[in-house]
C-alpha cells in the first residue's frame, strides 16, 4: 500500500472536546466528505468511558495512511470544541518544518484572551496558527446550542488554508445531520462561515 504520488489530499487532523459536545458528528461529516470525493480515510474514535462527559478526541487522516493515529506534532488541523481540551491537544499540531507551514487550529472560545501568553507566543514561533471563535455563542444565538461543532467548522471554512471547500462540507452536513435540524444547522454553518470571513479579513 504505497503512497500514491498524485495524492490530492493528505490531511491529518485532531478533533477534541468533551463527551456530549458532538465530536463524533464532526468526524462523520469529514468521513462523508472523503467518501464523496473518493479519498481514503482512516481515523480513531473514543467510545465507552470517555464518552461520559470526559475528554473526547478523535484522530482523522484523509489520504493514503495505514494507522488511524495521528502522532503528536503531525496534525495539520486541530478543531477543538472546549478550551481545556484544546490545550491538551495542541501538541498534536505540526510546527513549521522543512519549509512546510505549521498546523492550523480552531478553538471554540468566547473569551478572546483565553490563550496563555506563553503558549501563544510559542505557537507563533512555531508557525502554528490559532483562531478562537465563540462557536457556542453563535449556536445559542441561532437557537441550537448543541451545534457548536457545526459553527466551528463553518468558521474554519473561511480560512484560505482550511483544506475543505465550503460547498462540499455543506453538502456533507446536509447528508449527515438529522432532517429535523438540517435547516438550522445549515444556517449556523453559513453564518459561522460569514463571521469567519469578516473576522479573518481583519487579521494582520
Amino acid at each position: 500500500m504505497n503512497r500514491m504520488s498524485d495524492q490530492r489530499m493528505n490531511i491529518q487532523m485532531i478533533i477534541s472536546g468533551v463527551g456530549g459536545q458532538g465530536v463524533l458528528l464532526i468526524t462523520r461529516i469529514f468521513a462523508q466528505f472523503a467518501l464523496e470525493e473518493g479519498y481514503p480515510i482512516i481515523g480513531s474514535e473514543d467510545h465507552g468511558m470517555s464518552q461520559r462527559g470526559g475528554s473526547v478526541m478523535t484522530h482523522l487522516k484523509i489520504g493514503d495512511f495505514n494507522s488511524p493515529l495521528v502522532k503528536k506534532g503531525n496534525a495539520d488541523l486541530l478543531l477543538s470544541l472546549e478550551k481545556n481540551e484544546a490545550y491538551r491537544t495542541l501538541p498534536y499540531l505540526r510546527p513549521s518544518i522543512r519549509g512546510k507551514r505549521g498546523g492550523l487550529c480552531f478553538i471554540n472560545s468566547s473569551d478572546p484572551n483565553y490563550m496563555d501568553p506563553r503558549v501563544e507566543s510559542y505557537l507563533g514561533d512555531k508557525g502554528i496558527e490559532v483562531h478562537l471563535f465563540p462557536a457556542e455563542d453563535l449556536a445559542k444565538e441561532m437557537g441550537m446550542p448543541q451545534s457548536i461543532n457545526i459553527a466551528l467548522i463553518g468558521f474554519a471554512t473561511a480560512h484560505p488554508r482550511f483544506p475543505f471547500p465550503y460547498e462540499k462540507l455543506r453538502r456533507a452536513i446536509e447528508k449527515i445531520t438529522h432532517p429535523r435540524f438540517r435547516e438550522v444547522n445549515l444556517g449556523i454553518f453559513e453564518k459561522a462561515a460569514f463571521e469567519g470571513k469578516y473576522w479573518l479579513e481583519r487579521q494582520p
Partner: protein
C-alpha cells in the same frame, strides 16, 4: 447473487461484522463490552439490509454466547461469537475444551483487545489466550484487513475443524476506514448433529488422543501459514539488511506511517505477520537470518517474540525496547526506529518535537476531565443515597457505567463481572470472623447481575452472608451503547424473546428481603437502605436486596419531560447576610459549624426539668442505679411520678413525630420499683429557720422535701390522719399502690420533717398561731376539695362528687355500690371514679362527657383501660339535671352538645345543646363539679382570686400576706400531679429566698420550662414500635385494687431506652466523622474537633447530625464549597469564574436531584413560567 460493489466509511467493528456476513456465517452470539459492542448491531443491520438468514443473539454472558455458537458449529453451521478480551476470560472454560474437541462448521471467536487500557480492567493480550488454548489467532492491522481475514478464518476453521480467534485491538475496532463491500457468500448448511459420543463427550482417555490430534492440527496449520503470503508477507525484501521489522496487527499500520514520515518507506524490510499463533516459524526465521537486528512491533504482549527460538538478534518487549505496558503509540514506535537508524547511520527525516509545548501546557495545570455519570443519571441518586445512609460503609461494586460511582465515593471495588456480590459476601465473613460489624453495600447493574451476579448471590444466601445488594436497574446496557437486557424481552434482532424479571430471579436465589425503590426519591431510598440494614442485622437477617429502578436518562430522554424540575443557584444572599468569602476558614465565625449541646425537648417540657435524655441513656447502658440517681436530682418521687404524671415530656418527644414517643414514664417507674434500699439524700447544714407546710399533697410534700434538703426546720400540718393529700385519698390504689406511696412518702419522714396529722389549720390552729409558734414562713398547699356545681339536685341522696367518692373509698367509708352508676365528667378523677365504681360491684357504669373522646382531659391510656374494663362512654352528652325520686337520685336528663370550630389552640367549646332531652336511669350518680380550696377559715386578709382560689404573685407564689406562700391546686384549681410538684418546688425556692432575705424575683426565668425545643432530623429513621406495657388481665383487676400497669422485662426496658434519639446531645455516634467529605473532623478524648482550615462549609455535618448537636446556620446562597461537585458530581454543575457553582444549561436535564444535595440551601427550584 451478484451485488453492487459499494464503498463505505465504517467503524472497524462494522467492517468485522461485514466480514462475518460475507463469510456466510449462520449463527452469531455476543455479549456487549467495549471495544466489541458495535459488531452485533452491525450484523443485525446487514442481516436486515440483505435479508440474510442468520441467527443473532445477545447472550446473557460470554460463556453462554460461546457455547451457543460453538454447538451450532457442531451441527455444521458457520458460527461466530464476539466479546471483549476480558469477556473471553469468562468463556475460557469452553474455549479450552473447544480446542481439543474442535468444530464441524467454521467457528470464529472475535475477541477485542483494549491496550491502554481505555475501557477495561486489564491490557491482556488475547493472542496469549489463543496460545494457551492452542487455537490459531488472526491479528488484523486495520478494519479492512479484519474484514478480509474473516473468510480465511472461517475456511481455516472448517478445514482443520478447530476454533479460530480474530483479535482486533481497540484501534482497529474503533478505527474508521473506507472499505469495499464484497459480495455476501451464501453457504447452504442444514443443522445436522452427528452422534459422536467419543468426541463430544470424550472421557479423559480420549482427551489425550484429542490433544495429540490438536498438536498435529497446529503443526499442519503452521505449515500452511508459512505459505499464505497474503497473511504473512515481506515488504522491501532484500538479501541482507542492517535492520528489519517484524510487525503484527496495529504495530504494522503504525510502523508503515512512521517509516513514511521518516522517509524510510522503501528502506527497511518488514515482515508482516497476520497469524501470530501458530507462528509461521520458517518465514520468521528466514527473515531474521537476513537481518543484523530485528525489531518486533506487536500489541500488547511479546507473543511472537516468545515463539522465536533464537532471540539473539531480536529486540522488542522482552529487552524493554518497547515499553511493556500502555498502548504502543506512533510516538514510541518513531523513537525506537530513529534509535535503530542512528545506530546504523541510516539517515532519517527530521521529526517535529512536541515536548516543549507539552511541558508548557502541563504547567498550566489544567485539571483532567474525568468521565462522570450523565446529568440526571439515576445511579448518581442511588450512590448519593447509599453514601448518605452509610458514610462508613464498604462498597463493592461492579462493571458498568456505575463504576463511576467511585467519583461519589460510593464505589470501593470494581473487579470483574459479578464480583460486587462475591466480594460483599467475602467481606462479610472476613469481618464476621473477628466479630466486627461493618455495613457492606454492594452495587451491581441489571445486565451485570444477569451476566454473573446470580451465582454469587446464590452462594451468599446459602452461606449466610449479610449485606445489602443494590441492583441498579436502568433496564438497559448503557455503558456499551444501549443494548437491551433480558428484562426488556427485546432480542438482538427482534426475534421473539421473553421478558425476565429481576425480582423473580432474586427471589429464586433464596433472598427473603427484596424491595423496589425509586432512586429519584433519595430520601425514601435512604430510609429503605437503613431499613434493609436493620433487617440484615436482625437474627433472622440475611442478604437484603434493593432494586433501584429508574430508566437510563440518556436512553429515555422523554422520561424527564414529564415533570421537569428546573433549578437555579442563588448567588445573591438575602440582604441581611453578606455573601461570605470562598474559603471556609475565612467564613465569619458565626457561620462555621460548632458542637453545642442543647436541652432536650423532654427535659425542656418537664415542669421539674428532669434530665430524661440523660437517665434514658443510662438505662440503655444498663446503669440503672445511676439513672435513678439522675432522676432523683430533680424529682424525689419517681415511683409516684412514673404512675401519675401527665407526661408532658412524652408529648414533645421527637419520636412521636415518627412513630410513638419513648415510654419515658414507664422507664422511670421501672427505675423506682427496682430500688430496694430506702433512699436518703444528703442534707445541707442545719438552719434555724422554721417553715410550716399546710397540706401534704404533692405540692406540700415537694416543698417540704426541698426546704428540708436546704437545712430548714420543716413541719407538715395535715388535716387527715395520714400524709399524701389527694395522692392518698383521691387516687385509686389500682393506679398508685399503697406500698409505692408509703415508700416514697417515707422519705419525708426519714428526713426529719415534723409531721402533724389531724390538724386543720384555720380551724384547729390559725395562721397567726403558727407565726406565734415561731414559724418564719408558711406554705398553703391545701389543695382544692370544695365542690361547686350548678347542676340541679346534686344534694340528693346517692349523688356524690368524684373527689369525695374516691375519698370515701380510700377511708373505707364506701365499700359497695348499687348496679347502675353514672359518672358525669371526663377528668382524670372522674375516670378513676368510674373504674373504682366497677371494682365496688357496680354492674353498669356510664360516663358522660360533653365533647369528643379526643378532648377528654384524662390520659388516653387510662381512658382505654376504663373502656376495656367495661365503662360505657357517652360523648357529646351534657347532663342537664339529676332526676330524683323521694329525695334519692333516680337518673339524669341530658342533651346532645353542639361544638364550635376548633380555636387557634385546637380547643372546641360547647356552643349549644340540641335536640330532645334524653334520660337515663341510675342507682348512683358521681358528679364532676368544680373544686375550690376551702379558704373560709383562713381569715379575710388572705386575698382570693375571682375564681375563688388563693391569689398569689405568679412569679413568687407569695400571697397577700407577707411570708405566707401558696402552691398547687389551692392556687390553680385542680391540675395534674406534676404541675403540683413543680409548684411545690417553686414555692420552696421562694421561701428559701425569703428566709435568706434575698429578692424573690431576680433570675427566676431559669426555673421555668424551656421554650426552645431542639428538633432532630427524622427522615433517615425507621419507625420502631414503642414498648408494649404489660397489663393485668381485666378479670383479675376487679377482685381487688391490684395495680393495672405492670412492668416489662429488663431487656425490653433497655430496648425501649435505645429508641431515644438523644436530641441535642452528642452521643459519639461518629456519623459526622464519616460524613465530612473534607476529613475536617477528628475524634479526641474531649469529643469531636473541627479543623476549620479543612472545613469547606458544606454543612453536611450539621444536616446529618442525628442529634442536631452540630450547629451551623444555613446561608441560603452558594459559598462555593463544592459539595455538589464532590459528593454529587453532576456534570451540569460547574464552577464559575468566582469559584461559586452555576448550572450548565446546555447539559442540565432538569432532573431536580441536586435540590436534595446542597446543604447551604443555595439550589432552589425555579417556578415554572406561565
Amino acid at each position: 447473487m451478484e451485488e453492487l460493489k459499494e464503498e463505505r466509511v465504517v467503524l472497524g467493528n462494522e467492517a468485522i461484522a461485514r466480514g462475518v456476513v460475507e463469510s456466510g456465517c449462520h449463527f452469531f452470539a455476543a455479549y456487549p463490552g467495549t471495544p466489541s459492542s458495535e459488531i452485533l448491531p452491525a450484523i443485525v443491520r446487514f442481516k436486515k439490509e440483505n435479508h440474510l438468514d442468520i441467527y443473532v443473539e445477545w447472550s446473557t454472558n460470554e460463556k453462554v454466547a460461546f457455547e451457543n455458537a460453538l454447538v451450532a458449529s457442531y451441527t455444521g453451521k458457520r458460527a461466530a461469537v464476539a466479546m471483549k478480551q476480558v469477556g473471553l476470560n469468562v468463556a475460557t472454560d469452553p474455549l479450552m475444551s473447544a480446542a481439543y474437541i474442535g468444530t464441524i462448521g467454521g467457528f470464529v471467536i472475535i475477541s477485542c483487545d483494549d491496550p491502554g487500557p481505555y475501557s477495561s480492567q486489564t491490557e491482556q493480550d488475547t493472542r496469549f489466550l489463543a496460545m494457551f488454548a492452542k487455537v490459531p489467532v488472526f491479528d488484523p492491522a486495520s478494519p479492512k484487513e479484519a474484514q478480509e481475514m474473516l473468510p480465511i478464518a472461517f475456511e481455516l476453521s472448517e478445514k482443520y475443524q478447530i476454533p479460530v480467534i480474530l483479535r482486533p485491538v481497540l484501534r482497529v475496532s474503533h478505527a474508521q476506514q473506507k472499505i469495499l463491500f464484497h459480495p455476501i457468500r451464501r453457504v447452504e448448511r442444514k443443522a445436522h448433529f452427528i452422534h459422536q459420543p467419543q468426541r463430544w463427550s470424550a472421557t479423559p482417555r480420549f482427551r489425550f488422543i484429542l490433544h495429540k490430534q490438536l498438536n498435529q492440527k497446529l503443526r499442519n496449520i503452521a505449515e500452511e501459514l508459512n505459505s499464505m503470503v497474503h497473511l504473512n508477507f515481506i515488504e522491501n525484501d532484500r538479501e541482507r539488511a542492517l535492520f528489519g521489522i517484524i510487525a503484527s496487527g496495529i504495530g504494522y499500520a503504525i510502523a508503515k506511517d512512521v517509516l513514511y514520515e521518516l522517509g524510510l518507506e522503501k528502506e527497511i524490510p518488514i515482515l508482516k505477520i497476520g497469524t501470530p499463533f501458530p507462528l509461521p516459524a520458517e518465514r520468521v526465521e528466514a527473515f531474521i537470518e537476513k537481518c543484523e537486528e530485528v525489531l518486533i512491533l506487536e500489541e500488547t504482549e511479546p507473543v511472537i517474540e516468545l515463539q522465536i527460538r533464537d532471540k539473539s538478534k531480536v529486540h522488542g518487549r522482552l529487552d524493554g525496547f518497547i515499553p511493556n505496558e500502555g498502548e504502543m503509540l506512533p510516538e514510541v514506535v518513531t523513537e525506537v526506529i530513529v534509535e535503530f537508524c542512528q545506530k546504523y547511520s541510516i539517515p532519517v527525516e527530521e521529526t517535529p518535537s512536541s515536548t516543549p509545548l507539552e511541558k508548557l501546557v502541563s504547567e498550566l495545570g489544567i485539571s483532567i476531565r474525568r468521565p462522570t455519570l450523565c446529568s440526571g443519571c439515576p445511579h448518581r441518586a442511588s450512590f448519593y443515597a447509599i453514601k448518605r445512609a452509610f458514610p462508613n460503609g464498604i462498597f463493592p461494586s461492579d462493571i458498568g457505567c456505575y463504576t463511576l460511582g467511585m467519583n461519589l465515593e460510593a464505589v470501593d471495588t470494581c473487579h470483574d463481572m459479578g464480583a460486587a456480590i462475591t466480594f460483599a459476601s467475602g467481606l462479610y465473613h472476613a469481618y464476621q470472623q473477628d466479630g466486627k460489624e461493618v455495613p457492606i453495600i454492594a452495587t451491581i447493574g441489571d445486565s451485570t447481575f444477569y451476566h454473573s451476579g446470580a451465582p454469587g448471590l446464590l452462594n451468599a444466601v446459602y452461606n449466610g452472608s449479610k449485606f445489602i445488594l443494590v441492583i441498579l436497574d436502568n433496564s438497559i446496557v448503557a455503558m456499551t451503547g444501549m443494548q437491551p437486557t433480558p428484562e426488556s424481552g427485546i432480542t438482538a434482532d427482534g426475534h421473539p424473546g421473553r421478558a425476565l424479571s429481576i425480582e423473580e430471579l432474586v427471589k429464586g436465589c433464596g433472598v427473603k428481603y427484596l424491595r423496589v425503590v425509586n432512586p429519584y426519591d433519595m430520601r425514601a431510598m435512604i430510609r429503605e437502605l437503613r431499613k434493609a440494614y436493620r433487617y440484615i442485622r436482625s437474627p433472622e437477617g440475611g442478604v437484603a436486596v434493593l432494586i433501584a429502578r429508574y430508566p437510563c436518562i440518556t436512553y429515555q430522554k422523554e422520561q424527564l419531560k414529564v415533570n421537569p424540575i428546573r433549578v437555579d443557584i442563588r448567588h445573591i444572599p438575602p440582604i441581611e447576610k453578606d455573601l461570605p468569602p470562598l474559603k471556609s476558614k475565612a467564613l465569619p465565625k458565626e457561620l462555621l459549624p460548632i458542637y453545642r449541646s442543647k436541652i432536650s425537648p423532654c427535659e425542656g417540657a418537664c415542669p421539674l426539668q428532669v434530665d430524661a435524655r440523660g437517665y434514658i441513656e443510662l438505662i440503655a447502658q444498663g446503669k440503672f442505679d445511676e439513672a435513678l440517681a439522675l432522676v432523683r436530682k430533680r424529682n424525689p418521687f419517681p415511683g409516684i411520678t412514673g404512675r401519675l404524671c401527665a407526661r408532658p415530656c412524652e408529648k414533645v418527644c421527637r419520636r412521636g413525630n415518627l412513630d410513638q414517643p419513648v415510654a419515658i414514664d414507664l422507664l422511670k417507674r421501672f427505675l423506682a420499683d427496682r430500688e430496694e434500699e430506702p433512699f436518703i439524700p444528703a442534707l445541707a447544714e442545719e438552719k434555724r429557720e422554721r417553715v410550716a407546710i399546710i397540706g401534704s399533697g404533692p405540692s406540700g410534700l415537694m416543698a417540704a422535701y426541698e426546704l428540708r434538703l436546704k437545712g430548714y426546720q420543716v413541719a407538715i400540718f395535715e388535716a387527715l390522719p395520714f400524709l399524701g393529700g389527694t395522692l392518698a385519698m383521691a387516687t385509686p390504689r389500682f393506679r398508685l399502690p399503697k406500698e409505692v406511696l408509703e415508700r416514697e412518702i417515707g422519705l419525708i419522714q426519714r428526713l426529719g420533717i415534723e409531721i402533724k396529722l389531724g390538724i386543720r389549720v384555720g380551724k384547729d390552729l390559725t395562721l397567726e398561731d403558727l407565726r406565734k409558734e415561731g414559724y418564719h414562713a408558711i406554705l398553703l398547699a391545701i389543695g382544692a376539695h370544695l365542690p361547686k356545681s350548678n347542676l340541679p339536685n346534686t344534694q340528693a341522696e346517692r349523688v356524690i362528687d368524684s373527689l369525695h367518692f374516691l375519698k370515701g373509698v380510700a377511708l373505707d367509708e364506701i365499700t359497695s355500690l348499687p348496679p347502675k352508676v353514672l359518672v358525669l365528667g371526663g377528668s382524670e378523677r372522674d375516670v378513676d371514679a368510674a373504674r373504682t365504681a366497677l371494682r365496688l360491684g357496680a354492674k353498669e357504669v356510664h360516663l358522660f362527657f360533653s365533647r369528643s373522646q379526643k378532648e377528654v382531659p384524662a390520659d388516653p391510656l387510662e381512658l382505654e383501660e376504663a373502656e376495656r374494663e367495661g365503662v360505657i362512654f357517652h360523648f357529646f352528652s351534657v347532663p342537664t339535671r339529676i332526676q330524683t325520686s323521694n329525695g334519692k337520685a333516680s337518673g339524669i336528663s341530658f342533651k346532645t352538645a353542639h361544638l364550635s370550630e376548633p380555636s387557634s389552640s385546637g380547643r372546641r367549646r360547647v356552643v349549644s345543646l340540641q335536640g330532645r332531652e334524653k334520660r337515663m336511669r341510675a342507682d348512683y350518680i358521681i358528679t364532676s363539679p368544680q373544686y375550690l380550696p376551702e379558704l373560709s377559715d383562713l381569715g379575710s386578709s388572705l386575698k382570693q382570686s375571682i375564681l375563688g382560689t388563693i391569689q398569689v404573685d405568679p412569679e413568687t407564689l407569695e400571697t397577700s400576706i407577707g411570708g405566707v406562700f401558696a402552691a398547687g391546686d389551692a392556687v390553680t384549681g385542680p391540675k395534674n400531679f406534676i404541675d403540683a410538684l413543680a409548684a411545690g418546688k417553686k414555692a420552696a425556692l421562694s421561701i428559701d429566698r425569703f428566709l435568706k432575705g434575698e429578692s424573690l424575683r431576680r433570675n427566676r426565668e431559669e426555673e421555668g420550662l424551656s421554650t426552645e425545643l431542639v428538633s432532630v432530623p427524622l427522615d433517615h429513621l425507621e419507625p420502631e414500635a414503642r414498648i408494649e406495657e404489660p397489663l393485668l388481665p381485666v378479670e383479675e383487676r376487679m377482685k381487688e385494687f391490684k395495680e393495672v400497669r405492670l412492668l416489662p422485662k429488663e431487656e425490653e426496658i433497655i430496648r425501649e431506652a435505645k429508641r431515644c434519639l438523644h436530641c441535642g446531645l452528642c452521643y459519639h455516634c461518629d456519623f459526622c466523622l464519616w460524613l465530612c467529605p473534607e476529613g475536617a473532623i477528628t475524634k479526641t478524648e474531649e469529643g469531636y474537633r473541627i479543623d476549620y482550615e479543612k472545613c469547606s462549609g458544606c454543612r453536611i455535618c450539621a444536616e446529618g447530625c442525628p442529634t442536631s448537636t452540630i450547629e451551623m446556620p444555613e446561608i441560603g446562597a452558594c459559598i462555593g464549597c463544592g459539595i455538589c461537585m464532590r459528593r454529587f458530581e453532576c456534570p451540569s454543575l460547574i464552577r464559575a469564574e468566582d469559584g461559586r457553582m452555576r448550572i450548565d444549561r446546555l447539559t442540565c436535564v432538569d432532573c431536580g436531584l441536586c435540590l436534595q444535595v446542597c446543604g447551604q440551601g443555595a439550589i432552589y427550584p425555579v417556578t415554572p413560567q406561565g
